[in-house]
């Protein structure tokens, strides 16, 4: 399978050299603006992420990209195909992993893949051969005759990703590839996505997990309220918007007031999530918490700034709040 996917690196490029080119697209549902004039480009072999909370417009953007939802204005070009004008053609070169696995419970694992390939245009023979190939690749060969409803959540997700690979697509669009999975299954999905990336497959994914975006994405956009707020590599974004170090205090309820007073007096910015208080120092430097070492019920640790801090810094809100 690797050889075949690598060939897709020779995918038809858009005039600007990208594989996905999105130019100022807008989507309205009545008066509600779901996507508000966003633009970005994804290069061949790149994994590009749309990071944002639920309702940011990620799924709508994905649906417009795969030709499933018409745009109100703007342009989308994928592998040289004008998606706005020819939404059928784009699905010949694009693999899509929908947010809910969308697996067919009336069929076996193998039949899910085979019939998807056949519907997509492969001959029966080619679709069967390809189904065996992707089952092998995704470690699902032993389950090929299983009913879909017998699979674990992680296996279902991997099968949904495997299904999107049936036609050896030039680009794969994945809507929240690891949402709802336990940590172990999530790692497995990430490993497989990393292998696809090595094979040169271009991936556009949406996520609200900053860890997922950090690990998988070469570049990403932060989306909120239908707009792209900033774009760059994860490192660039962190450097641009996040503090260098963040102190994390685990505070017993009895000591919370003392901690708040201490931080307020020194004008340090902080946010509380349950018993966890995250503190940012002045100018993003390591916050000085020496005065809290003697306070009972306070345990402190330090971590580097991450994409969650970036999101907070740009929007003023927690990513996980949504």
């Amino acid at each position: 399978m690797t050889n075949e996917t690598q060939q897709k690196n020779d995918v038809v490029r858009n005039p600007d050299g990208s594989v996905i080119h999105v130019d100022n697209i807008r989507k309205l549902y009545g008066d509600f603006v779901a996507v508000d004039g966003i633009s970005f480009a994804v290069q061949p072999g790149e994994t590009y992420g749309l990071l944002g909370p639920n309702g940011a417009g990620k799924t709508t953007t994905m649906r417009m990209l795969s030709g499933l939802s018409p745009v109100n204005s703007g342009n989308i070009i994928v592998a040289g195909i004008d998606v706005v004008k020819d939404n059928r053609a784009v699905r010949e070169v694009m693999g899509v992993v929908t947010q809910h696995d969308g697996l067919d419970n009336g069929l076996t694992v193998f039949q899910n893949l085979f019939l998807h390939g056949f519907l997509a245009g492969l001959s029966r023979k080619k679709s069967k051969a390809r189904a065996h190939e992707v089952l092998e690749f995704f470690g699902l060969r032993d389950r090929s005759k299983s009913n879909v409803y017998e699979l674990s959540g992680g296996m279902k997700r991997r099968l949904a990703i495997a299904r999107s690979m049936m036609t050896t697509p030039a680009v794969i669009v994945m809507d929240e590839p690891s949402t709802g999975l336990d940590p172990q299954s999530r790692n497995r999905v990430w490993e497989e996505l990393a292998i696809l990336k090595e094979a040169g497959v271009t991936v556009l994914l949406s996520t609200h997990y900053m860890e997922e975006a950090t690990i998988l994405c070469d570049r990403l956009s932060i989306m909120d309220n239908g707009k792209i707020l900033d774009e760059g590599t994860p490192d660039q974004m962190i450097e641009r918007h996040a503090p260098k170090e963040v102190a994390q205090l685990r505070v017993d309820p009895a000591s919370l007031r003392t901690v708040r007073d201490y931080l307020n007096v020194r004008e340090m910015s902080f946010r509380e999530v349950g018993a966890l208080v995250s503190v940012t120092g002045v100018n993003g430097d390591r916050p000085d918490l020496s005065g809290l070492t003697d306070v009972e019920g306070v345990r402190s640790s330090y971590r580097s700034g991450n994409l969650e801090d970036v999101f907070l810094s740009i929007t003023g809100r927690e990513l996980r709040d949504e």
Partner: protein, 242 residues
């Protein structure tokens, strides 16, 4: 691979691919579905033929009550199967994102509709063949021209396949689909069963529904294919002039 047929906008592979999906799913569960195709009609035909049929001794224009009833039951069954396929089953597919996933391939909603109606026709034909075989075994159908039942089977499958799909497309929840059976299917089922407009089977039979008859006749989409079926079974041609 480009399998598009010359007609712009319709891709043949989309329709056949969806039909194949339904066929594969059907084959997986054939042991259960076959009871509906064969066992239920046997029970109804036997009940009508040997049960009610024993009580009704004379039916004008037909050798026996069972032979009079068989065509109606066959078409009624075909109607139910086609309707069920595109209402209940289609709604389930809609609910389980089967169509949403199909739409990630180069397929359109029109083609999905065509594929589903084609499958409803297939189910209708299967049902008609199954039920007619049972009826033939009891000698309630014994004319060689009965092979012509495939024509009304296709008509019923298309009509009720489309009607069922219309219901599942607008249904806000599964319970809504009950309406297609209670308000559409049941009245139409008893309409063809009660009698026929076909000349050789006059409407003055024991199952005529009095003042309701005219209304039922005007709503019955099964009547035309049923009349053709009766024509084939009895060896008489359908007459358009009644």
């Amino acid at each position: 691979m480009n399998l598009a047929i010359p007609t712009p906008g319709i891709r043949r592979r989309s329709v056949t691919g969806l039909w194949l999906r339904h066929a594969v799913s059907f084959v997986r569960y054939w042991k259960f579905i076959i009871t509906w195709v064969l066992v239920e009609p046997v029970i109804i035909l036997v009940a009508v033929g040997f049960g009610v049929g024993k009580l009704v001794h004379e039916v004008e224009g037909a050798p026996s009550y069972a032979e009079f009833m068989a065509p109606g039951l066959i078409m009624g069954n075909a109607m139910f199967h086609a309707l069920f396929e595109t209402s209940w089953n289609a709604y389930n597919r809609l609910d389980n994102d089967v169509y949403e996933t199909a739409l990630t391939t180069p397929i359109t909603i029109t083609e999905i509709t065509m594929g589903d109606i084609l499958w409803a026709v297939t189910r209708s034909v299967m049902t008609v063949v199954g039920t007619a075989t049972v009826a033939a075994m009891f000698c309630w159908i014994n004319h060689w021209e009965a092979i012509g039942i495939l024509i009304p089977a296709i008509m019923v499958g298309t009509t009720f396949g489309a009607l069922g799909f219309l219901f599942s497309a607008v249904a806000p929840h599964t319970t809504f689909l009950t309406l297609v059976f209670t308000l559409v299917a049941s009245p139409m089922f008893f309409s063809p069963v009660r009698s026929s407009r076909f000349r050789s089977f006059p409407t003055g039979s024991s199952l005529s529904l009095g003042r309701c008859r005219l209304h039922l006749q005007s709503t019955s989409l099964v009547d035309l294919p049923l009349d053709i079926l009766r024509g084939h079974i009895s060896g008489q041609r359908y007459t358009w002039s009644h």
